[in-house]
Symmetry: C2
Subunit: 527 residues, 2 copies
């Protein structure tokens, strides 16, 4: 008879979840052992839980299906929460498996033991603790179905050690129902948008008033994106997408879509004068942060916000239906256009030009470049088609882990991870997994030796930039971080570039070679 | 008029909290600026929140008073939770300051925003959100008093951005009470243990039955420890301390106290045949983990567990009163005794001998050596007096951060951080803060390229050690981690030792030089 751990792993792979980002502990001993009994599951070892959860996020954003994690107790889950929060923000599906003490041990308040269920609920759309092995098959099916949604979500299944170690007849589960969506081919589709909603949107767009069609979710890639471009071309509506889409398809031959700025002032400028903000697969935009005296919403006074499709609805079909309501349009497609290879001083701007000049076709760009990324959208707009994966939820430390997951989801594509130096130091352990799994990830660290994002906010809040502690807390020098040394220490070859020519040459080599490579891009702090 | 941020910082330093481990974000802009207005607060920048919380833990365990942290929103708190859980386990006082969105922004469900209060409550004995700047002086006073206790605890104060930026007359707070314990000199003392409880304990010890006096909390250092030793000498009771005391004072001239093993089987062997387990400042021992079929408590069947003093009670006074109930005893003191400097193969055992041979007087040993630490207690027992700071709560990743905090609490003492390789990779960012603050921390990494603790559990659970994935998930090779490179990349000089002679020589130099140093101790995996 199988044990709970084997039922768990079998249930996951039967439901199509066959990639496991693991940072296991003693609560998961039987689950680790079961990985050898169910060889269809591919485990990937991570050195820190935030790497495991961020990798699961990056995997799902490219694979279009969830991976699972394997974490240990409350502290293990806590270490992975920030990246689960990023996943939650845009409905990225993740199946989160957390090992726990057996109840007999738990009642002794054994250490480390914390309020695991409360922690899980802060990020999960679905949370359950399994109490006996016979229930596991049903619980796993429900977890996977919940992760798929719609809407996609983090589904957390807590598996105590006694449950994974006990033998069980999995067909005798006390709750054993066919869970809709638990098997590939049975996933529920998102709900259809009513024709009335589509007609209302068409009316707005026909009004002649200035309008922005703001895309999110499934509308930022694939057929939904193409339909949106036809709508824009036919109606004059401007196409924007949410500041931090899960996956933005862009490049030569694709409809160009500008991202809404994440700062309220810049976003307000983009939306100035518009009369309608039509949401397609996204929610009303809100900045990550505003000073207390500022507004947190960027649309102008008097602008009406309308929604074509919510997160649980089929935004792709709605956009296609809406596009059909207009004359056959010929949408604007981005022309192939690359910047010249830059020369001279290495800055965030010239580095962006080099990236635009070299970005390979089909690349997946994982972007946590923060203030150093200002020039990237323009510089890469006409590069060959690629996917852009921004930091979705504002919790720093997503980039390097997400690059691990994206690379495992698409082994035939190149991943380019763009990291601010401060951000890279949240989860540098991801570099080791890149080396271990020989992933084709090229990492660029914008090494400006400062927390520039914070610095900007401080200055705009009126702080004295020359104050001793203000200056001290915003600089990443004293000592400088040596990202080349850091990468090599974890098995990733690396070089530093100090001129635009050097950066272009190193980046070109790094993008062409199999396996991971880190380029330290020595740039001045953002102004 | 001061703003909320200035009131906050002033309130903290007035209450004696003048060390701030900061990983600030945009929610804390005004708090960062206020650090220059209130120069009595010493901020220390950390690159990751787990470093900040672990440093606050290490600081308090040596300074005997709390530091504060400065964290950013729910994800920032989440990243610091594991080390706060470690602090919570043994009542280490920490004042946790978390910046948050202003309410007007928060109601827009701005990202990153999560259920901050629920997260905080999983580790905090006291949690509050401040709603207006006039309340801050009172809230800070209560937070500091709550952190002191008794019992000591994590006190979390959530400060929204509008509260820290608004000006306020701090004397006009709506809740403005003199908080007992908020000022140095006014801290409440732990409650007195009743004479009846002391008499009952004396009766147990006079019974002639085999007994263990199990020490924890304040009883593992200072006068309580000496009183306990007199009791043991007079009554024949055996002296043990909890597996993971916050601070164990030991070495030549001090009463030797064996730690209770953390594995149930080993701990059961230590307690075999005893009739009474008398708790002094600790709780009934429970292993971190047991297999479901094992007991989680180590005392033998028929053993009575009695408590002399609980965590809120004055265990030191109780032990002194109890000692007075017996004839003037001459307690056993540890004789000075160091191992020979080892030669030949470098193993966890020979490394322990080198550490015992070289440990400087007054050293603070931060111990997260896990399976590689087996030989350390014996090898260092007769070294000059020192403090031992184990991993208190079982959430890995405490060691390097705690070493940062301990070094700042005692700038005139040498800190020796003993790290397992897997553990070191949870919070390696602490090395950078050691370099930045020029801390006298010597780090030894037991580099055995394996998760040996997990491996042991797997084997005892009957897993096949040759299973492909079992082997893969337990080894830290492929690629090997280069801890020397990792340390140097963060500004800490480092060397690798491959023989016992080399290790002894490098460790000796490292302990003698000012500033941090990392020694990579290349040892075979634990058997």
């Amino acid at each position: 008879m199988p044990n709970g751990a084997q039922i768990l792993i079998e249930g996951l792979v039967d439901a199509g979840v066959d990639m496991c980002f693991a940072h296991p502990g003693t609560s998961a001993t039987h689950i680790v052992a079961a990985l050898d009994d169910v060889p269809r599951m591919r485990p990937v070892l991570c050195l820190f839980e935030g790497v495991a959860t961020g990798a699961a996020d990056g995997y799902a954003r490219i694979a279009g299906k969830p991976a699972c994690t394997l974490l240990h107790l409350g502290p293990g889950l806590a270490n992975g929460l920030a990246n689960l929060d990023n996943a939650r923000r845009v409905g990225t599906p993740v199946v989160n498996i957390v090992g726990d003490h057996a109840p007999r041990h738990q009642r002794l308040d054994a250490s480390p033991e914390s309020d695991l269920m409360s922690l899980a609920r802060t990020v999960s759309g679905w949370t359950r603790r399994t109490y006996q092995a016979t229930d596991l098959a049903g619980d796993v099916a429900e977890a996977v179905a919940a992760a798929y949604g719609p809407p996609g979500s983090v589904a957390t299944l807590v598996v105590p050690a006694d449950v994974s170690s006990s033998e069980a007849d999995k067909s005798s589960g006390t709750v054993r129902v066919e869970v809709p969506g638990a098997r590939p081919g049975t996933r529920p589709r998102p709900g259809a948008v009513s024709s009335a909603a589509v007609a209302a949107a068409a009316e707005v767009l026909r009004s002649g008033e200035p309008a922005v069609l703001l895309l999110g979710g499934a509308a930022t890639h694939g057929p939904g994106l193409h339909a949106a471009a036809r709508i824009a071309a036919a109606t004059g509506a401007r196409l924007l997408c949410e500041s931090f889409p899960a996956r933005l398809e862009r490049g030569a031959g694709l409809p160009p879509v500008e991202r809404l700025a994440h700062g309220t002032a810049d976003a307000s400028a983009q939306l100035a004068e518009i009369r309608y903000l039509l949401l397609a697969g996204t929610t009303t935009p809100v900045a990550f942060f505003t000073h207390p005296e500022q507004h947190g919403r960027p649309e102008p006074h008097g602008c009406e916000v309308r929604s074509l499709a919510e997160g649980t609805e089929d935004v792709t079909a709605a956009l296609e239906e809406l596009a059909g309501a207009f004359d056959p349009p010929s949408p604007f497609r981005q022309k192939p256009l690359r910047p010249e290879r830059p020369t001279g001083e290495l800055t965030a701007e010239s580095a962006a030009a080099a990236i635009g000049a070299l970005l390979p076709e089909g690349a997946i760009v994982v972007d946590e470049s923060n203030t150093s990324g200002l020039w990237l959208p323009d510089a890469t707009a006409g590069a060959p088609p690629h996917d852009w994966l921004p930091l979705t939820g504002g919790a720093i430390g997503q980039g390097l882990p997400a690059a691990v997951g994206a690379a495992l989801a698409a082994p035939d594509r190149r991943v380019l991870a763009l990291e601010a130096d401060g951000s890279a130091m949240y989860s540098p352990q991801a570099l080791w997994t890149m080396a271990r799994e020989e992933l084709d990830v090229t990492v660029v660290v914008f090494d400006n030796r400062a927390y520039s994002a914070l610095s900007r906010e401080l200055m705009s809040a009126g702080a004295d930039p020359d104050g001793e502690w203000v200056a001290d807390l915003l600089e990443l020098s004293r000592p400088d971080l040596d990202f080349v040394g850091l990468a090599r220490a974890m098995g990733v070859p690396a070089e530093q570039a100090t001129t635009a020519e050097e950066f272009t040459a190193i980046l070109g080599r790094a993008l062409a070679e199999p396996g991971p490579y880190l380029v330290d891009c020595d740039v001045p702090p953002a102004g």
